[in-house]
């Protein structure tokens, strides 16, 4: 096992990989600091640019982005009360009050060191868990892989917080989109409308660029103004005290990191739950819970440690089962597919060096990103003050060019625009995009394994009940599908809750 860790580390220590890791880190800081963009948009934009790169170099670049995004998000959260990424919203609660009190440097320093330590703890946890995960996935055959795809969709739908039905709807739409193109099992061209471009299906990366980068730009263009609404808190001092504050509050860091690691390993739950759970448990455990929300440094440390620890453990369900932990991981899945690395059980066996290299890249980017983030805090924060009408055309043009560059096909640009408008409508009418992406990624796998299972059982379905792992998965799916009923029953028992109105 140790030789694989070292091989992964050694692969990362090549000049080109280090250069791309550093580049990814800078891109991650930049995108993390701009609210509305975040890691998903950053990965979607860089994916086409990695087309000509070796898979490992592309992973180093992606690892650099993912490791550095949380630090970028913290910068705008603390300085401008505008979280660059959704999980960083928890950092705003105490980070921004600290900045208003002239202690922005203290908060940034604490965020940077908590980020780095959280990342290291997350990495150690993943390194410990991966060998066990590898043994587990060997139990999986076509029936289990089909059910796993269904389970992934249901998990992601249930984690869409109060939008279960809509999560399932967008999941079904994603499945239908994934059926477009040539079907390798039946040899039939489906839903192409005679368009030759669609023979290979809807290209994933252009669609992702549209759903995330372009959709956010349409939204920003309509909202107008600037991303951040004020520039009063750009003063930065006493960072060293902030760096040390994390060590003074080590139980908070440890608690946050463990919460992040556990939450990250649950598919579809994501970093926002991890950061807010860590924040609220820290406040509950504190001797001065009333000081939280007014500028308590532990209120910065707790979510930051959780956010970066989550990044490492998120890789487990993403790589082992192809079930992403969040939007960023969903886009990362697309990047893996682009480079011929099919996420799933076999990936843990066939690409171990790449996986360990990616984990090291994440950790390196997280530590370096925290240091560089401190140096770049002020100029990055100023990006959020750029007029949306200037930022939008530049990012949109880069997004469409990136889409074209995937395979130098101009049809990609049309796909990106169509998915951009679809993504915008989904934001506007409150339909989750994550399930759409997960279904687009899992659709082909699900259908292939379903048909292979049917062949194994001569067209029957009883095989699902005769194999223990698939029976366990079936029960899991059933329980999750029933979860809204169960939750409703218990919440009525407790509170007699009434039916909510649609919020306007």
């Amino acid at each position: 096992m140790l030789h694989l860790w070292l091989a992964g580390f050694e692969s990362l220590l090549q000049g080109r990989e280090l250069m791309y890791l550093a580049l990814g880190m800078l891109i991650g800081l930049f995108f993390g600091a701009i609210p509305g963009l975040g890691g998903g948009a950053a990965l979607a934009l860089i994916a086409p640019l990695t087309y000509g790169l070796e898979p490992f170099t592309a992973l180093a670049l992606a690892g650099g982005v993912m490791g550095a995004v949380p630090m970028g998000g913290s910068i705008s959260a603390i300085l401008l009360n505008a979280p660059g990424t959704a999980p960083s919203a928890a950092t705003c609660l105490d980070g921004y009050p600290l900045a208003q009190q002239g202690k922005a440097g203290l908060a940034l320093g604490a965020a940077a060191s908590a980020n780095a330590i959280g990342g290291i703890i997350g990495t150690v946890s993943v390194l410990a868990v991966l060998p066990i995960a590898k043994q587990l996935v060997l139990l999986f055959g076509p029936p289990e892989l089909f059910l796993l795809a269904v389970l992934g969709l249901v998990i992601v739908s249930t984690s869409t917080r109060g939008k279960f039905l809509r999560g399932l709807m967008t999941g079904c739409l994603g499945l239908l989109i994934s059926f477009i193109g040539y079907n390798e099992i039946t040899g039939v061209l489906r839903f192409t409308g005679g368009n030759q471009y669609l023979w290979d299906g809807v290209h994933l990366v252009p669609a992702l660029i549209g759903l995330f980068a372009v959709a956010e730009m349409i939204q920003l263009s309509i909202a107008g103004g600037t991303i951040a609404k004020g520039s009063g808190a750009l003063k930065i001092t006493s960072m060293t005290s902030g760096l040390m504050a994390t060590f003074d509050h080590w139980p908070t860091v440890l608690r946050g990191s463990l919460i992040g690691t556990v939450i990250g390993a649950i598919p579809g739950v994501g970093g926002t739950v991890a950061s807010f759970l860590s924040y609220s448990l820290t406040a509950r455990a504190s001797k001065n819970p009333e000081s939280f929300g007014t500028g308590n440094i532990e209120g910065v440390i707790a979510p930051e440690a959780a956010i970066n620890a989550k990044d490492g453990s998120c890789l487990i369900p993403t790589l082992a089962f192809g079930i992403p932990g969040g939007i960023e991981m969903a886009v990362f899945l697309g990047l893996l597919v682009l480079h011929g690395l099919q996420p799933g059980p076999l990936m843990l066996i066939d690409h171990q060096v790449e996986i360990y290299g990616l984990i090291w890249a994440l950790t390196g980017a997280c530590i370096l990103g925290s240091s560089v983030g401190l140096l770049l805090a002020r100029p990055l924060a100023r990006l959020t003050l750029i007029d949306a009408q200037v930022l939008v055309p530049v990012v949109t043009a880069v997004a469409l060019l990136g889409s074209w560059a995937v395979d130098r096909s101009i049809e990609n640009v049309v796909v990106t625009a169509v998915f951009g408008i679809l993504g915008y409508l989904m934001i506007r009418f409150d339909y989750p995009r994550l399930t759409l992406v997960v279904a687009m990624v899992l659709g082909a796998t699900a259908e292939r394994n379903f048909r292979q299972t049917a062949m194994m059982d001569d067209g029957g379905l009883s095989i699902y009940l005769h194999r223990t792992p698939s029976l366990v998965l079936l029960i899991g799916i059933a329980v999750l599908l029933m979860s809204p009923l169960i939750r409703r029953f218990f919440s009525r028992e407790r509170t007699g809750a009434s039916v909510p109105e649609i919020a306007r």
Binding site: F164, C172, T186, R190, P393, V398, A417, I502
Partner: protein, 160 residues
């Protein structure tokens, strides 16, 4: 704004769009062989049923409230879409960029889009619009042509 079952018609549009997409997939799949259509048909019928539930859940009726409370308790209506002119401008400018790229190619389409967006939508001065356009175009050229060695798409009108 016209309303239906106590809710503006616009609230139903997206869900109706999902249902329409499901119907289109079912209609198309019905001409395929049983093997090729089984999985897509099943998915499309599920989407149709779910869209029906979502549409019903949007109504301001007892059944609608029950469905919403059970399956979609946290949804938000289209609360602040912004002025129609801005929405149209955002979508049209994206369509304009796509049309420019397809017809004129990247070397002309991108700078033209940037310049017109900055000058006429962002209302920047000619000098700053030209400066930003030149800077961004140069960076893109360096990245795609110089570093990645790609032949930029020339557009339908200028294709050789």
């Amino acid at each position: 704004m016209k309303s239906l079952f106590g809710r503006p018609v616009s609230d139903y549009l997206m869900s109706a769009g999902f249902a329409a997409a499901a119907v289109a997939f079912i209609a198309t799949a019905s001409s395929y062989s049983p093997d090729a259509r089984a999985f897509p048909m099943a998915s499309a019928f599920v989407l149709l049923a779910l869209s029906g539930l979502d549409l019903a859940g949007l109504t301001n009726t007892a059944a609608g409230r029950a469905i919403r409370g059970l399956l979609n308790p946290a949804i938000k209506a289209d609360s602040n879409p912004g002025p129609v002119s801005r929405q149209a401008a955002a979508v049209l400018s994206l369509a304009g960029l796509v049309a420019g790229l397809v017809l004129l190619g990247i070397e002309i389409g991108v700078p033209l889009y940037l310049l017109t967006s900055l000058r006429f939508r962002a209302r920047r001065s000619w000098i700053s619009s030209i400066a930003v356009t030149a800077g961004v175009s140069a960076l893109m050229w360096l990245l795609f042509v110089s570093a990645l060695r790609l032949d930029l798409y020339r557009g339908v009108l200028f294709a050789r």
